[in-house]
């Protein structure tokens, strides 16, 4: 019996046939009040001695807009999920199920199973889940991230055992190459290729420096600095062992015996769970000396980053791990040649590493069945903005934007029109309605002027001003520029100033030409990816929404009605009933008019706070 079989049997036994009451306690669940639900569960159990169930908290299952979530799992029955529950709901649901075998409740969501149950639909019938393909998120929301046995019982560390017990390091690299997995951190560089270059460099380094303490490093990039992105956080909070396993396999493949997880300090829960998972893995000899009884030894250290976007860039990240200021360095030398402490180093994203155990456990061919010719597998996205259903989703690469936004996302709320989808966060671009049928893959997104990025997906509707969106992203990149190189430090500053004056109604028509001159030059002259990609929001909005720029500059008009300097509030002569509500609500007394008579806004005094429009019961306040 191999060491793995023994661990697996232990885990299966520990997790078998449990009745579980599951509460979603990812950061999203906690923010929605998940801890109150956990309390309610415990209180209900304390008050009902006959109900025997284990209480489990899990990471994010993705359907964030329905948090807090409460799930009940009874052996022999599909797991049932209830959404937006209150403490009262919690008590009712538990008592109904366990005391009366009554499963329907007004907060019923679905079964987390392909089968419906007792009139509760399968989650495959829920539009949010139906088109999704959960592979990266295979364990998120299913296992207790604080229990290694839960992970192992779900095929955890199976990939590692295959790699260590049945394969040579070169064969592991080969398998990863064959899968065609591309880096999920943004640039999409094939993971197998990166590993094979590193493996060669590490061998060469070993020959040249036989006395060195270390011959190579693997670093997991868990910096996740894009505003609005939380894919990596969810994986770390919900399934930390998958990343540890992926890193250990990577270490074996390239010949590194040490690794770092670089995680932003703003992710306290992820850090806590990672620390726990590291201890558990060491205890089970899945990390440390002679892993699973083999010759291979490997260990990991957690390094907390201070939350700078630029520290996600590889060379800056390495500097930060070394204790220096996170500032990018020109390449070559590439980290795979001379990285951390000048030793060959590879850096992979959380999600890249999370895919590795599956590739090894199931085989590259089976893994590569999903996806397109050049973009294999699935990708997670943080779907946010103006869509009905926001949350963490995972789709097969090659799905169209339309499917993601309208099927999974449920379309645009309040009957508004879709205007743009922004992928790749501040480094990406804004894609217009005419591109809704674009497939989500590395090449198609790049061709459209955006990037896959790490998975930010922001949906905008007709009320979004695209000049203002570009300004927003530039505010971020300018503040996060490390300040080292001129095109980025000063180029983003000047672009931001130009965009700001356009949104303030002070733009000149030459400003468009200035932006068109600056943006490509910053892209081509900057030292690192931050500066090189910072112009993307400007370039794409200029390409697809040029008319909005022109409306601001030439007509002094913000078509989306967002830019305060360019809009005026008036009261409609016909609709105004003279109810005086607006006049009383206006914080600056800009509205005059006698009772039952037409009210008038003094546009010189009006600060465009929008209060009057919101309080008017007759839709008489107009914005233009």
């Amino acid at each position: 019996m191999s060491n793995y079989t023994a661990i697996r049997e232990w885990a299966d036994e520990k997790t078998a046939d449990k009745t579980r009451i599951i509460v979603g306690l990812g950061t999203c669940g906690i923010a929605a009040g998940g801890n109150k639900i956990l309390e309610a569960v415990e209180k209900t159990l304390a008050n009902n001695d006959d109900i025997k169930a284990e209480v489990v908290s899990v990471g994010c299952i993705g359907i964030c807009y329905k948090e807090p979530l409460l799930d009940i799992e009874i052996p022999g029955q599909p797991r049932l999920s209830y959404g937006s529950v209150t403490a009262k709901d919690t008590r009712e649901i538990i008592q109904n199920i366990f005391l009366d075998s009554k499963y329907e409740h007004k907060k019923t969501l679905a079964t987390i199973n392909d089968e419906a149950f007792a009139e509760i639909p399968s989650w495959k019938e829920i539009p949010f889940f139906a088109p999704q393909e959960r592979r990266v998120l295979r364990n998120c929301g299913f296992i207790d991230p604080e229990k290694i046995e839960d992970y192992i019982a779900n095929d955890g560390y199976l990939g590692l055992s295959r790699a260590l017990l049945d394969m040579t390091p070169a064969a592991v690299v080969e398998e990863t190459l064959k899968a065609g997995l591309r880096g999920r951190g943004g640039a999409g560089f094939p993971a197998g290729r990166k590993w094979s270059i590193a493996a060669d460099n590490i061998n060469a380094y070993k020959e040249e420096n036989p006395d060195s303490d270390s011959f190579g490093y693997i670093i997991c990039n868990a910096d996740e600095g894009d505003p609005g992105a939380f894919m990596n956080r969810s994986v770390l909070e919900g399934d930390p062992h998958s990343v540890i396993e992926g890193m250990t396999i990577a270490g074996y493949a390239i010949g590194a015996s040490y690794g770092y997880i670089y995680c932003r300090a703003e992710y306290p829960l992820a850090i806590e769970r990672l620390k726990l998972a590291l201890d558990q893995a060491r205890e089970k000899n899945l990390l440390g000396k002679n892993i699973l009884g083999t010759e291979f030894s490997f260990d990991l250290k957690l390094k907390e980053g201070a939350g700078a976007f630029v520290c996600g860039e590889e060379t800056a990240l390495i500097a930060s791990v070394e204790g220096l200021r996170g500032m990018p360095m020109p390449r070559p030398p590439y980290p795979a040649q001379a990285g951390l402490w000048e030793v060959p180093t590879i850096i992979n994203n959380v999600e890249t590493l999370n895919n590795i155990p599956v590739i090894l456990a199931k085989g590259a061919d089976s893994w590569a069945e999903k996806g397109t010719e050049k973009s294999k597998g699935t990708k997670t996205f943080a779907l946010t903005g103006k869509v009905e259903n926001t949350g963490l989703i995972e789709v097969e690469l090659g799905m169209s934007l339309r499917e993601v936004i309208y099927d999974i996302g449920g379309g645009i709320p309040d009957g508004k029109e879709f205007k743009a989808a922004q992928t790749g966060g501040p480094s990406g671009g804004c894609l217009p309605a005419s591109m809704l049928d674009l497939t989500i893959d590395y090449e198609a997104l790049a061709k459209a002027g955006s990037i896959m990025g790490s998975g930010g997906l922001v949906i905008m509707d007709e009320s979004t001003c695209m000049v203002d969106v570009a300004r927003y992203f530039l505010t971020f990149t300018q503040a996060e520029s490390c300040g080292k190189c001129v095109p980025c430090r000063l180029g983003t500053k000047r672009m931001l100033e130009i965009l700001t004056r356009i949104t303030e109604g002070k733009g000149k028509i030459e400003d468009i030409a200035l932006l068109e001159e600056l943006a490509p030059s910053i892209r081509d002259s900057s030292l690192c990816g931050l500066g090189q990609s910072a112009p993307n929001p400007v370039l794409t909005t200029l390409r697809y929404f040029r008319d909005e720029y022109e409306a601001h500059i030439l007509e002094g008009r913000c078509p989306a009605g967002q830019c305060k300097a360019l809009i005026t509030y008036t009261i409609d002569e016909v609709d105004c009933t003279g109810c005086t509500v607006c006049a009383r609500a206006c914080p600056v007394d800009a509205i005059s008019g006698a009772k039952k008579e037409l009210h008038i806004i003094d546009t010189d005094i009006c600060t465009r706070c929008d209060t009057c429009r919101q309080v008017c019961n007759f839709d008489a306040v107009l914005v233009a």
């Binding site: 200021r325 300018q478 996060e480 520029s481 180029g491 030059s521």
Partner: protein, 367 residues
């Protein structure tokens, strides 16, 4: 050795050379603002961009290693357009008062802007404005003129090993600063002046430069302060020293100096400086030595009087003889100096042991 082509010129350079090194060897000018042959490549100013056959984009020549068979182009319209935009950006946040500037006519930024051919400022916007830091007695930090090339930071770290300064803050607010953003004088700076030496603008300049125009002559010499013997270049104008810097060609110090060598030169032309030997009047003109401090006060016999070397040495030799005769050799001790040459110290040793006959000889560096 590596063989490559710069603008179709064949050139052979040693292993480890960068593309910029190769261009310099081939006598091809590439503008640079953050490069210094003594410092590690940094890649901040983006002036030195080139095109390389088979490479993507516009690599910076200062940081790209030269490789066998490489074909490099140092000019093209793409290079020039991007370089001009970068230079325009740099100058959009730089006070253009060259005529009033201490760096006028010796400023790298001025030269490279001239090379690029900047004729207008299309990107007007906010400019940085800081108080000048005059806390260091020898140099001034004027961050308004700083282009954040990082040379000072690297010089202090890589050459002086002091790490007194680094980059602080982010984005437009980025600046060179000390730990906790304290004034220079409260940092660990040793006033070696290396950062001032490498600064391509007037963001760091010697206080002495405020009073003087350009130096018109330069003299290579050796620092008189200690036995290391650093090579110095003395900058003069009308026979007056206006500045001193380390001599990069000198293999002893490769341009490096300590605070004394670089900044301790004002004594040279100080009015109080003693330039001829002096003795007390009573030794020259006869009369007896005052016996107490009170007796020597306002006593003309106690005045210092200039004399010739010969006279002064004669008096010294005679007095030593006298003391030796009266009190014995060991009543005399010798103190030499780090400022003397080895040969001078050797002779002093001979004088003490062989001539006077004492072992009491020591050296100021022992203190």
């Amino acid at each position: 050795m590596i063989n490559l082509k710069i603008d179709n010129k064949k050139i052979e350079v040693p292993d480890g050379s960068t593309v910029l090194d190769a261009a310099r060897a081939a006598n091809v000018y590439i503008p640079t603002l953050c490069d210094d042959p003594l410092l590690e490549p940094f890649g901040a100013c983006r002036m030195c961009i080139v095109e390389i056959e088979g490479h993507r984009g516009l690599p910076t020549s200062c940081s790209t290693p030269a490789t066998e068979g490489m074909e490099v182009k140092t000019y093209s319209s793409t290079i020039e357009v991007n370089r001009r935009t970068t230079m325009n950006l740099m100058l959009s946040d730089h006070p253009l008062d060259c005529q009033h500037c201490v760096a006028n006519m010796k400023c790298d930024l001025q030269y490279v802007a001239g090379y690029v051919g900047v004729r207008e400022q299309p990107y007007e916007g906010e400019t940085r404005s800081y108080e000048k830091d005059r806390s260091n007695p020898f140099y001034v930090r004027d961050l308004d003129k700083c282009i954040l090339c990082g040379k000072c930071v690297r010089a202090c770290d890589e050459l002086q090993g002091r790490q007194a300064i680094s980059f602080g803050y982010r984005g437009f607010e980025t600046k060179i600063t000390t730990p906790f953003d304290l004034p220079m004088w409260d940092s660990t700076c040793e006033s070696c002046g290396r950062c001032v030496d490498v600064c391509p603008t007037a963001a760091l300049y010697d206080k002495s430069a405020e009073k003087n125009g350009l130096a018109m002559e330069e003299t290579r010499t050796t620092c008189p302060y200690c036995g290391v013997g650093c090579g110095l270049i003395i900058e003069t104008r009308n026979d007056k020293i206006v500045g001193v810097r380390g001599d990069r060609e000198n293999s002893v110090n490769e341009g490096h100096t300590c605070v004394k060598g670089r900044y301790g030169w004002e004594y040279v032309q100080h009015e109080d400086r003693v330039k001829k030997p002096r003795v007390r009047r009573y030794l020259l003109e006869g009369g007896s030595k005052p016996k107490s401090a009170r007796e020597s006060e306002d006593n003309p016999l106690w005045d210092w009087v200039e004399t010739s070397w010969e006279e002064a040495l004669n008096i010294t030799a005679e007095s030593l003889h006298q003391i030796k005769k009266e009190h014995g050799s060991d009543s005399i001790g010798f103190m030499t100096s780090a400022k003397c040459l080895n040969e001078e110290n050797y002779l002093m040793n001979k004088l003490a042991r062989q001539v006077v006959g004492t072992n009491s000889i020591d050296h100021c560096a022992r203190l």
